[in-house]
Symmetry: C3
Subunit: 141 residues, 3 copies
Amino acid sequence: MVIQREITLRPQNRGFHLVTTEISTQIPELKTIRHGLLHIFMKHTSASLTLNENADPTVRTDFESYFNKTIPENASYFEHDTEGSDDMQAHLKSSILGSSVSIPITDGRLNLGTWQGIYFCEHRNYGGARELILTLIGEVK
Amino acid sequence: MVIQREITLRPQNRGFHLVTTEISTQIPELKTIRHGLLHIFMKHTSASLTLNENADPTVRTDFESYFNKTIPENASYFEHDTEGSDDMQAHLKSSILGSSVSIPITDGRLNLGTWQGIYFCEHRNYGGARELILTLIGEVK
Amino acid sequence: MVIQREITLRPQNRGFHLVTTEISTQIPELKTIRHGLLHIFMKHTSASLTLNENADPTVRTDFESYFNKTIPENASYFEHDTEGSDDMQAHLKSSILGSSVSIPITDGRLNLGTWQGIYFCEHRNYGGARELILTLIGEVK
């Protein structure tokens, strides 16, 4: 069984945002699956998705600090700068963190670890709404 | 056909460890699949999974050295430090390397390249046993 | 429905190369799928796959510059150096960028964003031809 939905994430500030519930509530067919996978795909090249700690918000703040320190905004050697100083660094972060995550589904729910949540990583200063594609592959209960 | 198993990786020291056999022997249904995918998922936010060179152990040592050099243990700007100096760096490594790998299955075995193996990347000093979920999707032979 | 094909990417210079068409034309069954996923897997540990901007070639040049600056070719602490100075840095890039990408299929085509393309990331100076495995999982139209 394959189910697919195109959804939109509401605009967020540059940084790392917990969106586990915002995503999972938009694919109610999750509840019908015994065993499977949910593939979550970002249709953009300057935002990304990752899994990390879902509790203390300073983890997300530290992510933003770390990636800003290690990926420069205005490297003198960047040639691609027509879309602004936040553009090339956003492309790099997108590939380092990745455009998709795949999460096991077990007995009708995302089988995440206790501390795992889905991060929407917005790398542009003004990224706007972001389109995702959810693809669920699994066996019905 | 979808098969799912929850397995435990035995505790390892901080560093990069080859676990191809430890994982593949825990899902014997692999042998029955003609074409498919094995999704291997880490239910933790301070350890990760990746694929890399399966022969010379100094590759794994160099991985540990490189990631320790580029991701600081005690950055002055980290705010999340209540769980010890090895905590925030572990979360960052987990997202850079990733929480899962997906490997093609062909004729009943993992279709890895000659030099590819699965690395269990333990980023905490004392991480303990780690839970994984294996999800196999494929067509039976 | 699961379809699998083993394909070869023609040799490329060290750097980042757009291969969306070179890959998608080698799995014509794409056109028959209503909803599904295409998993693209690199059978090597010194090359990688990622998704990023498909228009301006300077994005790819800047990727090569950035990763060369941040991942050293001859770090004094590297122990694995028997295969040349471009070897260990290639293994590290391969794990940071990743060995595979998974892309949703919708109505017979890869459902990429307007600006998304598939990058073949060659990290060795002389990598040669590279083997990929394409695994398509989906429902027929």
